[in-house]
Amino acid sequence: MDILKNAARLAAAAGCALVLSTAARAEPVTLTWFMWSGSDAEVAAWKHVAGLVTEKYPDIKIEFQTASWPDYWTKLPALAASGQLPDIISLQSMRTPGFANLFEPLDAYAKKDSFDLAAFDTSIIQGLTDDGGLRALPYDFGPMVMFYNQDMFQKYKVEEPKVGWTNDDFLKAAKALTVDGNYGTAQSVPDVFFAYARSAGANYLKDGALDLTNEPLKAAFQSYVDVVAKDKVAPLFPASGTPSGAQANGRFVAGSVGMYVDGPWSLINVKDSVKFKVGIAPLPAGAAGSISLSAGSGFGISSSGKHKDEAWKAIQVLTGPEAEEYLASNGRAFAARNAQQKFWYESAAKGVANAQPTIEAALKTAEPYKTTAEWNTVSQLFEQYAPLAFAGSQSAGTTLDQIQQLSTQ
């Protein structure tokens, strides 16, 4: 009997201790985080950053879930529709109009904690904001810039692109490099075209709505496709499962194309996979100057999540100075926090010609890449219809008419 009594006492004591210990600590929470990724190195980087959250808040664990870039935008609404949205979800600024209502507005959280939003670049904060408020804290951003194969320019003794170069300089260089089976440049759609159009003084939006049928834009698109159709200094990309931007990147990395336009987020992968020296330059200036479009991404809180306060704590760490320094030093992100951008210059841009002056010049004139809610459709229709114009099968104007009609029907 004594043994039993003792056992009962022991159990009671243990019970008390358990109750006390749980009262002292917050309930441990596992947050799910959904983010796109394209390689094992990227996944490892995100998992490292997720570890920083647990380091700071031992009660918060993060379960990382991922999908490829295009699949992410198919899965995200499907998860939302089935009520399975992860606690932390990722947003790219160009998709803000389409997906904003899946994200909890962060303004009230930031105000409550007097969180310093001024530490971030203002254009990307704007890009992740819609009428309802700020939807995500940014981790990266960047203007589109011209990537070029420095070895190819030197081999054919062509003057390298530099800050202040124009469309005429660009065409001259592209023609000079189109020799020995190589192409001078590669034209992808639609993002790069819209930056080109802005530099030419044309616009693709009117009062926030898609406006592809205005004459200046049609003229700009005609001269953009003529680089392929008439001048033949860029390869013709078919409409296919590989987006034109990825095809351009593939040709450039393979060394058969001298220039192409991409964002600073691609620099680390490009630099690691090419066998030549890479340089970057601002977009060539058109009639309105060199106007690039800047876009970026961040992490937000699912509006239907159960652990919003914990998720708010987590995304502050995921986009905090330490995480940003890590991502920038690894070349994974051109940091959205101004103070951490120097780490990107020291790593991803190391050995890349003109990196810092190019990004700084591009940022001075860059606009946030504004889009509409149907952007996914617009992008896909450009991939599908633009090859008709590039091949010269129909005019650029007709192509824009079709895309406008199909995306707003």
């Binding site: 609404p77 529709a81 590989t242 599908q384 090859p387 199909l406």
Partner: protein, 309 residues
Amino acid sequence: MQLKPSAAPSRAGTGRAKAILRDDRRAAFWFLLPSFLGLAVFLLLPLAASLALSFTNWQLIGQSKFVGWRNYVNLLTIDPSFWQILRNTFHFTIEYLVLNIVISLTMAVWISNLRWGKRFFRLIFFLPTFTPLIGSAIVWLLIFTPGGFADWFFSALHLPIPNLLTSPDLAIQAIVIVSLWSGFGYNLLLFGAALEAIPSTYLDAAAIDGASSWQRFWKIKLPLISPTLFFGTVMTAITSLQVFDQVYALTRGGPGSATATLGFSIYRTGFAAYKMGYASAIAWVLFVIIMALTILQLRVQRRWVHYDL
């Protein structure tokens, strides 16, 4: 009157038979229940749900509301791409169906007449059927890409054929070629098995009677394998109306809408534009078309399919 004496025992007999039948039915019910539940949950319910969806404007995110027949009316009257998509789908189906049946039947007859290597050739031609199309389509993309192997091949033969993927008139041929490569092996195997099953006595008798090999094919082999031929035709027609993988991987419906088919259009409307209600409406139009064509084929088969061996 003659029935009367036997009426009593027979009534008892039917009573017992009914009881047995009742027991059988009960057992059958329990045996069928699991698969019926599966059918209901995974097939009938989604079917009903998609029919219901087709009358809404559900966009995955946000509220949806009932819009009546508007999706169907838009599709058939306003949508600028629907008729083109329908034309593409029929163009592909007819061309692919005819070529598939002709090629697989010719090859099956050829292989069945071989003295050796029957199994080897059947295996070789069947290989693409169990290769995932989405993977092999990427290889085909490299072959067809401008400046790729196909362009080199045509120019080496001095054939004035433009690049298939970038030509709006010829892009669908690329889809047909890839589909044939991946799909004819199945019918080849099917027809091959049917040809093997023909009793050689019929053919021997015909040969002794002086029938040429051409006559033996048309008058004996073809009628005898007609049920298999019919099955192959119906199944091929259904899968080709639903064509998606090749289009998705190879052309994404382009250039323009040159290769956009109904199957691809359902995907694009649903998962790129997120218009689930509209996509469901397209899916039901496709369902009705497949249903109608299959009923038509079942009607017409009476004239050419012989089930008596």
